[in-house]
């Protein structure tokens, strides 16, 4: 091929691309003009997590009640980290985010600083709904200057999920009341684990150090300082907050007792661990029941059960729905967010994926309160999870909570890999500080 022809062809390709880009942006301009509320409206809902938020039925219902609204969901199957990275870029750029976006407990604080990029839901009557949410959940969804950033969906109230078949084989009780009685405290939980380990050499007691650590930390901080790596003035206090050290030491104690299966949470190996049944317990915020069911599959139905967690209850995770200002249909989006986060919506999501409602009305609804989970040996999950949820105190998480948490989690993984716990605590302090810079 002669060079001039080749160049011409390249030029043609380049010109064509310019034309495509130009038309694409022109289309973008067009749609911004159709912001009238009468015409058909497509609302995009951004969620995350392997199981999604369990909204499919609710969308259908909402579309039936609002014939001019079409709902499209994105993000099911996307991990929280990837989801949040993308969302941060979209919010900062002011385009690309959905009309309704899910914000997780650990990341909503990061968006307080960008609250001017979100619709203040108080402008859409959200303040009238205050009574529909647990007080601490409402507080988390509100920025320090009083804007309503997000409406609560679920809370991550804690319990402990365990494999009753493995417990039985190891000579431990299997009844959930008796199992809970084995571990009033985390120390006794570890002692139970040692008994299990002595009887069963094939399985491990706990899935991973990081799940254990996060649950313990959120629980201790909930009844203690009320914050974790950051205090309420957003100062990094990783070395000063004794709650962190307590949770860290309990975790390294659990590891050195040989109880951890050393699986990186949410990894392929972790998923395989559920399928192959390699561990006997997992610290279980309400949303974890959906994860277990999804990963362990039908083969493990009836093998899992839920018992009260050691300690005083606590919360890890749970989400909010917010409406970015970049949405072209903020009014309709706010209405949809209100609908999805209503007591009815939360009850429906609970039935689908096990996310525990953050609405006292939904928690009191017999559909939640009296519910049993077929998969978890008909455990009264509504009662077990709701027990602690109403009188929890919120734990404040700083803006870079996830970055610092990841740094600390990594040092715990290093301990699982056989590194010295004392040295890794020093690394946790150092890397945590670097991550929070």
């Amino acid at each position: 091929m002669s060079v001039p022809i080749r160049r011409r062809r390249l030029a043609a390709i380049a010109l064509a691309s310019v034309a495509v880009i130009a038309t694409a942006s022109a289309c973008g301009d067009d749609s911004s003009e159709t912001s009238s509320s009468d015409g058909p409206v497509t609302l995009v809902v951004d969620v995350f997590g392997d199981q999604g938020f369990g909204y499919d039925e609710l969308y259908k219902q909402y579309e039936a009640e609002h014939p001019n609204v079409k709902i499209q969901e994105r993000g099911k199957g996307l991990g929280l980290g990837d989801y949040n990275t993308r969302l941060t870029q979209q919010i900062t750029a002011g385009s690309g985010a959905g009309d309704v976006v899910a914000l997780e407990e650990g990341t909503i604080v990061q968006f307080y600083a960008q609250s001017d990029k979100f619709v203040n839901l108080a402008d859409h009557g959200a303040n009238d709904l205050k009574g529909n949410f647990l007080p601490w959940k409402w507080e988390q969804g509100t920025t320090p200057d009083g804007k309503v950033l997000g409406l609560g969906t679920d809370v991550g109230s804690m319990a402990l999920c365990y494999r009753s078949d493995l417990f039985k084989a190891a000579g431990l009780p299997t009844d959930r009341e008796q199992v809970a009685a084995l571990w009033p405290t985390w120390d006794e939980f570890i002692a139970t684990g040692q008994k299990f380990a002595a009887a069963d050499k094939k399985h491990k007691f706990v899935d991973s150090a990081t799940n254990f650590y996060n649950v313990v930390l959120m629980q201790i901080a909930g009844s203690g300082s009320g914050h974790t790596y950051y205090d309420k003035s957003n100062k990094l206090v990783i070395g000063e907050n004794a709650d962190i050290r307590t949770a860290y030491d309990l975790t390294t104690k659990m590891i050195s007792a040989g109880l951890s299966n050393n699986l990186q949470s949410f990894s392929n190996e972790w998923n395989a661990g559920f399928k192959n049944g390699t561990f006997a317990t997992i610290a279980c915020p309400a949303w974890m029941t959906g994860v277990i069911k999804g990963q362990a599959g039908d083969a493990a139905a009836g093998k899992w059960d839920v018992a009260k967690a050691p300690g005083n209850g606590g919360n890890w995770g749970g989400s909010f729905l917010a409406v970015p200002k970049s949405s072209k249909h903020t009014k309709e989006a706010a209405e949809l967010a209100k609908f999805l986060s209503s007591a009815k919506g939360q009850t429906e999501a609970f039935k689908k994926v096990g996310n525990l409602p953050s609405s006292p009305q939904a928690l009191a609804d017999p559909a939640v309160a009296d519910s049993t989970n077929e998969y978890f040996s008909k455990a009264p999950v509504g009662k077990i999870f709701a027990a602690g949820a109403t009188d929890l105190k919120p734990v404040y998480l700083g803006p870079k909570n996830n970055a610092v948490r990841t740094a600390v989690e990594n040092t715990l993984r290093a301990v699982e890999q056989g590194k010295s716990a004392a040295e890794q605590w020093q690394s946790a302090l150092k890397n945590g500080a670097a991550a929070g810079k």
Partner: protein, 328 residues
């Protein structure tokens, strides 16, 4: 050599140029002059327009952002001068850890990769049954997706259910936790890189080998030189320019190593590259700083330092290349 083809005008080019001149008789002279003078610029414009939007602007913006504390968490952007660079070079052990990892994996993957490619190419250069099949087969890994390769190798190197640990167990060696140990993780990631790129390099070497005149080998054979001697005294010296080319391509790829080490950890915290950053490369650290810690200004500084590092290594390569070719 092969690179020159793109820029040199082919012999037929002159004829092409003559045609517009003949057509010009039917048009006003001024228009023709305009056409001759400006249309070349018009032809290259699309490339430069795209270059400006997708390359020049981002580069300029990176330089600007590296001098600020830009972050989505800050409501305002303030100019911080060279603070980001000072911190990066003097007070950031994680960055230097990433530099060591990147160069370590670069050496560990490139050296065996090029040697193996040479050996393979030499074998394929002989008369073989099903020659075309083998030549095609070694090139196959290039068309696979890097992500898929990384995912499959991650399973092969899994700690509990991995194929490699199962084999090690068969021969009586204990299992290795491939992600815990720095050298083990480097080795595992290097095998992924090599599996994908050995065939590509072998193909390039093979093409170069086939352009070596057969007469040289015949003459050497007459003089009683063994196969091995022919390889070292004829093939290798003749391949020098090609070797330099593959070395430069591998350098650029190696210093930007990203997908393989990232996907080596599945689940949460993959961007950290291991519990102690055992296999976190510079590009991974860049994204860690940007997406986990939200320090966009600082990430800009990391990007620029990475750029300088690549420029530096390329310069070394260039000097090396010049020396070797002057040896000839």
């Amino acid at each position: 050599m092969s690179l020159d083809l793109d820029t040199a005008a082919p012999p037929g080019g002159g004829g092409d140029r003559a045609r517009p001149a003949r057509a010009a008789h039917r048009r006003p002279a001024s228009l023709t002059r305009l056409d001759l003078k400006y249309s070349p610029y018009l032809y290259v414009l699309p490339f430069f327009a795209i270059f400006a939007v997708f390359s020049a602007y981002p580069i300029g913006y990176t330089v600007w952002i590296a001098l600020t504390d830009r972050s989505p968490l800050n409501a305002t952007i303030s100019f911080v001068g060279l603070d980001n660079f000072v911190e990066l070079l003097t007070d950031d052990p994680q960055f230097w850890n990433a530099v060591v990892n990147t160069f370590g994996m670069f050496v560990l993957s490139t050296v065996p990769q090029l040697l193996l490619a040479l050996v393979l190419a030499n074998a394929l250069n002989r008369k073989l049954r099903a020659q075309t099949f083998f030549r095609m087969a070694i090139a196959m890994p290039i068309i696979t997706s890097t992500a898929v390769v990384a995912l499959i190798f991650s399973m092969i190197y899994a700690k509990d259910f991995g194929l490699v640990n199962w084999l090690l167990d068969l021969v009586g060696l204990g299992p290795i936790d491939w992600r815990a140990n720095r050298l083990a993780s480097w080795f595992a990631i290097s095998t992924m890189v090599d599996w994908r790129w050995v065939g590509y390099n072998a193909l390039i070497y093979l093409a170069a080998m086939q352009s070596i005149s057969k007469d040289m080998y015949e003459a050497a054979a007459l003089d009683g030189a063994s196969r091995r001697r022919q390889f070292w005294s004829i093939t290798i010296p003749q391949l020098r320019p090609t070797i330099i080319f593959t070395l430069i391509i591998s350098t650029i790829g190696g210093l930007q190593l990203f997908t393989e080490p990232l996907l080596f950890t599945s689940g949460s915290g993959g961007i950290s590259g291991g519990s102690e950053g055992q296999f976190q490369t510079i590009t991974m650290y860049l994204l860690d700083v940007m997406n986990t810690r939200f320090r966009w200004g600082y990430a800009g500084a990391v990007a620029l330092v990475l750029f300088l590092l690549i420029a530096l290594v390329s310069l070394v390569n260039y000097l090396l290349a010049r020396r070797i070719s002057s040896d000839k």
